[in-house]
């Protein structure tokens, strides 16, 4: 990203707020469990289902575990899953879309029809299919997000490559004797950085939400580990009696997703203008 784009981004208040919130969330995820003084697995059966208070900021759950610690621990898993899944599917999409656009012609037609077929199958159907062959857990979540996440990126990168490969500097690279790999990875892909970055950032909240959704259905990380989806799933059973057990994890999911969207929006505007 260049200096001018950064200046535009800096003046976009929601985007800056989004970046600050994401920064705070990361700090919270790393430092939270240390600050609170509890462990996310430690049960305290004498203090179950406490409300928010001085000892337990967000209260405790039905086994007396500190909810603040669990939300912070959940943030680690949710953010890590979101960002990692996005990077993995992003790289896959860049390679696939980049090659498809660069090769062009029949190859491009076939590769893009494969993308169409993959994206025609609904997300939940992939999840059900994966459940048949895999155990619930982080790996399954990654597989589900990986299979579904890369198509969008592949389409965007392909479109970019199609327009970039006709530029004169690409022709110039060929004329000095650069091979396909050199042309693609040195001259074309780096110039798709703007749209790729924006797509990746928009992909993170989607991945976080998808992970929460899968965990909510019991396909995500297994207890006693906690992601936000697991916490929401636990909290929903007691929504009438102890609503804060649902409220806090749900609040963090919402804040995180909004923060990433604000940031992504700001970045897109900034890169569009510069």
């Amino acid at each position: 990203m260049n200096y001018a784009a950064w200046n535009v981004l800096k003046r976009n208040k929601p985007a800056v707020l989004g970046m600050i919130v994401i920064g705070l969330l990361v700090i919270m995820a790393l430092a939270g469990p240390v600050v609170s003084g509890y462990s996310y697995v430690e049960q305290d059966l004498e203090n179950t289902n406490l409300g928010p208070g001085r000892d337990h900021w967000f209260g405790t759950d039905s086994l007396g575990r500190d909810l603040f610690t669990r939300v912070c621990f959940g943030a680690r898993i949710s953010l890590a899953v979101g960002i990692l899944a996005c990077i993995v599917s992003g790289l896959l999409g860049i390679a696939f879309g980049g090659y498809s656009g660069y090769a062009g012609g029949r190859t491009d037609d076939i590769m893009m029809r494969i993308v169409d077929v993959f994206s025609a199958v609904p997300f939940i159907l992939y999840v059900i299919l994966l459940m048949v062959v895999m155990e619930p857990g982080l790996i399954t979540v990654f597989a589900a997000l990986g299979i579904t996440g890369w198509m969008n990126m592949a389409r965007i990168v392909r479109a970019q490559v199609l327009s970039l490969k006709e530029r004169e500097y690409v022709l110039a690279a060929k004329s000095i004797g650069a091979g396909t790999g050199q042309v693609l990875f040195r001259h074309i892909i780096p110039n798709t950085a703007g749209p790729v970055m924006v797509t990746m950032i928009f992909g993170i909240p989607e991945a976080i939400f998808a992970e929460a959704f899968l965990s909510f259905l019991g396909l995500g990380v297994s207890i006693p580990k906690a992601s936000w989806g697991v916490l929401v799933s636990e909290g929903i059973g007691t929504i009438g009696l102890y609503p804060w057990q649902l409220f806090f994890p749900a609040l963090f999911i919402s804040i995180t997703i909004m923060a990433f969207y604000f940031w992504g929006n700001g970045l897109r505007d900034a890169l569009d203008r510069c």
Binding site: R167, E168, Y169, L171, A172, S175, I176, R186, H187, N191
Partner: protein
Amino acid sequence: MEALLKVRNLKKHFPVTKGIIREKQVGLVKAVDGVGFDVYKGETLGLVGESGCGKSTTGRCILRLIEPTEGEVHFDGVNVRTLDSRAMRRIRKDMQMVFQDPYASLNPRMKVGDIIMEPILLHGIARGKEARERVNELLDVVGLAGYHAERYAHEFSGGQRQRIGIARALAVEPKLIVCDEPVSALDVSIQAQVINLMEDLQEQFDLTFIFIAHDLSVVHHISDRVAVMYLGRIVEMAGYRELYQNPRHPYTKALLSAIPVPDPNAKKEKIMLKGDVISPLNPPPGCNFHTRCPYAVPRCREEAPELKEMGTGHSAACHLVNP
């Protein structure tokens, strides 16, 4: 004198297709249609014509940046068209190109030093520190300074960018440089600087140029011989002095009469051409130029003229002119 480059009957036809699943050919654009010429070592051949007459396509076909449909290109005794992609990459060391638009021909995400260094590393001419020194030398040769290597292309003006493009082409010490309208995108004052630079470099490095332009006055300045193209064919070719003083083909005459003279009282016969270049998609039979030619006779509508020798080193393709 031995020709460095021989081009014979070069053709590039672009099919126009319709339909998604079963592509049907509905037409053929004959961008280059049987072009042939020789370029001798150390000379500059000017290639002029209106937009869309196929001069850039000719240049790109010679370097095989576009694959020609037909014809032969012999460079230094090697038939370029029979080379496989690896041998082709190697021969690119000897034939380079300078592009038209200095704003589009430099990668915006690379530093100038890296742009110039890329061909040096690709062809294994130098490495590391030595390569960096070579970049500095090249920047110096084209009139830029060593510290410019650390900057990005968008920090330069059009003329400076074109100098960077020239430095990139020079980096591999080529024998032939195809200059595809290298000054058309520049201000007139800068055009002269860049052309002078290219002339100096030609002398210094013993270069051979194919200089593509749509401006006869620019070509006049730099060329030893000039070929005039119209709709994919060469219509006249001669030494620059001969061509300017004694044009034979009506199209060349029209082009020359369009050069403005910096004298408000000068009276000269102006040949105004009617209409535009006809569409290269399915052109009419006969001479390509007959639709606009003020002297056209019935024969021109039926039979395409061959390029005929008009005198020493002067040839033209017109039924109406004879030696």
